[in-house]
Structures are given as C-alpha cells and as structure tokens.
C-alpha cells in the first residue's frame, strides 16, 4: 500500500515539472517551425525575385562566406564591438553602481532618473542621437563642446567616428540596466567581510579589489552575459544611424544578414549569415552561462 502510493507520488512528481513547463514550451514551440524554415532556406538558393531559380544548394551559402571579404570584416566588427561595448558598459556600470551605493544626497532621485533611457525605443534613441551628433555646430553636442574649446567632432562622417558614436549611443541605452543590476548586487552583499577587512586595516582600493569584486562576481558575470548576447546581435542602433557605413566600418553580421535578405532579397545567403551569427551567440552564451553557474555556486 505504502509503496504503491509512494510510487504513484513519485511518478506524479516525475511528470509534474514537464507538465508545468508545457505551456511555455508550447508557446515557444510555435517558434521552432519558423526557425527550422529559416534553417532550411539557408541551404537553398532562395532569392525572392527569382522564384524559378530556387534550388537546394547544401552548404554553398556557408562556404561562399569564406570568399566574401565583407564577412571577415563583419565578423571582426561583431566581435570587436561586443568586446568594447561589454568592457566599457560593465566598467562604467560598475563605477556608477559604486557611486550610487555610496551615501550621497539625492540618491533616490538619480536612481529614478537612471531609468529614463530604458523608456525610449532604441530606434528613436539612435535617430535622435544622430541629430544631436551633427558634424558641424548644427549638432547640439558639437555646439556644447565648442564652449569647452573642443573642435567639432566628426561623429558619423569618419569610420572611427562612426564606431565610437554607435558605441556611445548603445552605452547610453544600456548603462542604466547594467548599473542597476550591479547596484542591486552591491546592496545584497553581506556586511561581515567588510568589517573584517576594516579591522585588518585595508584601504578602500584593497576592499574594492579583495572584497567587493569577488563577492560581486556573479552579478558581473550576469551583466556580461546579457550585454554580450545583445551586443553580438545589435541591430536597431546601427540600422537607424549608419546602416553599416561608412566604408562598411559598422557592418556587423546582423546588419550584413539584413542587407542580404531585405535589401538584396537573397534569402538563402542572408539566412546562412543569420545562422552563423546565431551559432556564435549560442556558443559564447553557453560558455558565459557555465561561468555564471560556477561564479554563483562559488559565492553561494
């Protein structure tokens, strides 16, 4: 009697999690079909305006990427941009979080205002920044900088300028998210290690280095994970400001895939590029996720 009940209970326990997961899985399963269709297209010569030339081409689209000079540049920019964006945004975010964690007057107000950038769609953010970054003193930024004696900055007109400008816009939009997560992390840290360090006579730099940062590491890895995932496939900001230019300096894989699929209608090639990007994102995310699991286990 008792064993059968236990077994029934056990069986129910075994099925229950799957049942609970079912609604979410069903909802997302609807998205698996379009994904598989996209994957299939990446193995075909699908080109919208030539429906008669539709053929299954195996790996041709992927192999042709090797000969495509733009692909190497786009891959390089995708990775380089992600590295720069993550380092800058997490670094600045950490500074802002430490600043807001200190007892300063008006902290609550600043924190509330930090949410503003999250409320504007990235496409609009980018368009407005582009206007603000006008190359002469027609742009408000250069006009304000002129009071500081800075020569007009050629924001979007040069290759390096465009990269920096995109970085700035992306940082503006995402810094609040990063700093608020890190701020939350700071507030959740235990107090004992700090007291111990102070008793040992450690200075503020030592405390930051040997106490705060290690304790904060799961949060840091987490924001690195989120920002990496989003920076690898950044689209809206580049789409609205440079569309990959000038001189292809801001073309990443996502923009390249967009151009192939939606400007030139070569769906097959565009999808192959999107799949390559997806694989890249999944691999990097997986590695970061494992790192995060380890970081949060070691501090727990």
């Amino acid at each position: 009697m008792s064993t059968t009940r236990k077994r029934r209970h056990w069986r129910r326990e075994r099925l229950l999690p799957y049942l609970l997961l079912a609604p979410a899985l069903v909802l997302l399963a609807g998205m698996v079909y379009p994904f598989l269709l996209g994957l299939y297209y990446s193995f075909t010569s699908y080109w919208l305006q030539y429906p008669n030339r539709f053929r299954f081409v195996w790996l041709d689209n992927y192999l042709s990427l090797i000969e495509e000079p733009l692909f190497a540049r786009a891959l390089e920019f995708t990775l380089g941009f992600t590295l720069a964006a993550v380092v800058i945004q997490v670094g600045l975010g950490l500074a802002v979080a430490l600043f807001l964690h200190a007892r300063i007057p008006g902290r609550a107000a600043i924190r509330a205002l930090m949410l503003l950038p999250l409320m504007i769609p990235p496409v609009i953010t980018a368009l407005m920044w582009k206007i603000m970054m006008g190359s002469t003193n027609a742009g408000i930024l250069n006009y304000l900088l002129s009071f500081l004696g800075v020569d007009p900055v050629n924001w979007f007109g040069s290759t390096q300028g465009a990269i920096v400008s995109v970085l700035i816009i992306d940082t503006w939009g995402n810094l609040p998210f990063v700093s608020l997560i890190l701020l939350g992390g700071l507030q959740a840290l235990p107090t004992e290690p700090y007291e111990a360090a102070r008793v040992d006579g450690a200075g503020p730099i030592d405390i930051l280095r040997y106490v705060t940062l290690p304790l904060l590491s799961p949060f840091i890895v987490l924001v690195v994970l989120f920002r990496t995932m989003d920076s690898l496939r950044i689209f809206d900001v580049i789409y609205a400001t440079t569309l990959g230019g000038p001189n292809d300096a801001t073309t990443n894989l996502h923009i390249m895939a967009y151009q192939y699929s939606f400007q030139w209608y070569q769906m097959g090639k565009g999808m192959a590029q999107a799949i390559v990007l997806l694989i890249l994102v999944v691999i990097i995310s997986y590695l970061l996720m494992r790192l995060w699991n380890r970081a949060s286990e070691s501090t727990a």
């Binding site: 504007i120 609009i124 742009g139 992390g185 507030q187 949060f219 895939a257 999944v282």
Partner: protein, 297 residues
C-alpha cells in the same frame, strides 16, 4: 605653539578633504545626470519646437514653445503649410497597450509554472530545457522574421493583436522565466515544506506561499517585460499592418518623402514614454531590489 598648530591643522585638513570629496561627488552626480537626462531633455525640447527652430544653427535653447507637434499627433492636421498626418497615433498607442499588456500577461501565466518547475524540481534534462528556453532570446530577428511572416499569413495571424502577442513571447517569455525562477529560488525551502505538511498541494504552495512572497519580483518582471514589448520594433514592423502597428513603428512614420517631421517624432516619443514612466515610478523602489533578486541564482 607648534603643538597647537598641529592640533589645529588636523581638523582643517579633514574639512578640506571633505570639501574636495563633496565637490567631487557633486561633479560626478551632475555628469551622470547630464549624461542620462540630456538626450531625453533634448527630445522634449525638440517636441516643443516649430520646424524653423528645429533646423536653427546653432541649436537653440531659447525659443517660443509650440504644442503643434502634440496637437498633430491627436488631430492630424498641422496648422500652416507644414505637412499633415492622419491621426493614426492614438490607434497605435492603443495597439501598443493591447499588445504589450497581452504579451506580458501571457508570459507571466505561462512563465510562472515553468519557472516554478525549474526552481523547485530536479528532473532529467532540466538544465538542457532551461538553456533551450533561454536560447530563444539569442536568436537574431533576421533569422525568424520572414518565416514567421509566412506562417502568420498562412494562419491568419498576420496583422492581428493575437499574432503579435504570440510573436512577442520571443521577447518576454524567456526573460520572464529566467527572472521568476530566480525569485522563486529565493524563497526558503522550509517555508514551502511547512505548507506541504499543512496539507497544501504543489498548487497550494505556489498560490499561497510562493506567489505572495515574490510579488515585488513579479512586479519588476512585469514592468521590464512591458518595456521590452513597448520598445520592440522589428517584429511589429514585419508582422503588423496599420490596424495593429504599435507606437515604435508609428514614430518612424514621421520620416516622409521630402522632409522629416522631427518635432512630431519627438512628441510621439515623449507620449510613448509616458506609460512606462508612470509604471516605473509606481514600482521604482522595487526595481533595484527586483533586478538583484532576478540576478542571483
């Protein structure tokens, strides 16, 4: 005398140091605020400018404000020879509300049991499933959007609120599960076991213990999910038509053939930010806490 001097020097140095510190803090706060708020303020100013002021060189801070741009959003016709827009904006605003609220509600409904399963049970393939659910967030929209477009056309989901709510699950559901799972894990096991001993089923534990305790977390998840939905651009562009366009797509409609209506675009941006502003002010104090809880584990 020397002793006195030394005695007096110390407090002076301290107060000097404190002043420097305070000035540094003040400067840092101003820089941070300027950096964060200036673009927003600039959009606000632009929304109050007439076309002539928008194009003025150098940019003007002093101008006669006009509400024409806001009036144009609601009433369409703009005074003078400035091009008019048909007032689709109120419709777009309503669409944004319907889609965002619907998408977040669906995500929370489906996400709560899923997050509960991932937080409380151990079962084979758990980590794999968790990663799979999460991985939907990774997908570049390009890879999805044309096949989704075809699928939606075939099943009559194209240009419907329902269809968009389904598509937005890509944006909100993985995020919701991820956040809620962390909140649920925060709640001590003992509390749940105690409830079980009192005769609660898993459903009872969920509704009577877990949900009430993680209300702040759920609130934050809802707000952030709402913001992600509200700001989405690419999916609605491809999957919606005029009847279902949200404000993001509506805002770029101010790029016309022979001119860009920057003032109206700015006004649309400000109006579109209002619901998020109200919502986030309402739960502001939970947001930081919620983000933290979502972040750990």
């Amino acid at each position: 005398m020397t002793a006195q001097a030394v005695l007096y020097q110390a407090p002076q140095a301290v107060s000097y140091r404190r002043t420097v510190r305070q000035v540094a803090i003040g400067v840092a706060a101003v820089v941070l605020l300027a950096w964060t708020c200036f673009p927003f303020v600039w959009i606000l100013l632009t929304s109050l400018k007439s076309p002539g002021d928008i194009l003025s060189v150098p940019p003007s801070f002093v101008f006669t404000p006009t509400i024409d741009n806001y009036a144009a959003l609601v009433m369409g016709e703009q005074r003078g020879q400035y091009s008019s827009t048909r007032p689709d904006f109120p419709l777009f605003f309503l669409n944004s509300l319907i889609i965002s609220v619907g998408a977040v509600a669906l995500s929370v409904l489906a996400g709560i049991p899923a997050a509960y399963a991932l937080a409380r049970f151990t079962f084979p393939a758990k980590n794999g499933l968790a990663f799979l659910l999460m991985s939907f967030r990774f997908v570049p929209f390009i890879a999805f959007v044309i096949p989704l477009y075809l699928l939606f056309q075939t099943f009559g989901l194209y240009n419907t609120h329902g269809g968009l709510i389904l598509a937005y699950q890509l944006i909100t559901l993985p995020f919701t599960i991820w956040m809620l799972r962390s909140f649920f894990q925060e709640i001590p096991l003992e509390t749940q076991e105690a409830a079980m001993i009192d005769g609660c089923s898993w459903l009872g534990v969920l509704t009577r213990v877990i949900l009430p305790l993680s209300m702040p977390g759920i609130a934050v998840t809802v707000i952030l999910g709402f913001m992600f939905c509200w700001n989405a651009f690419n999916y609605p562009l491809m999957l919606a038509g005029r009847q279902t366009f949200p404000v993001t797509v509506g805002a770029i409609q101010f790029i016309s053939y022979e001119q860009v209506l920057w003032g109206q675009m700015a006004a649309a941006t400000i109006v579109a930010a209002l619901p998020q502003l109200v919502l986030s002010l309402m739960v502001q104090k939970y947001i930081v806490r919620g983000l933290t809880m979502g972040a750990v584990k």
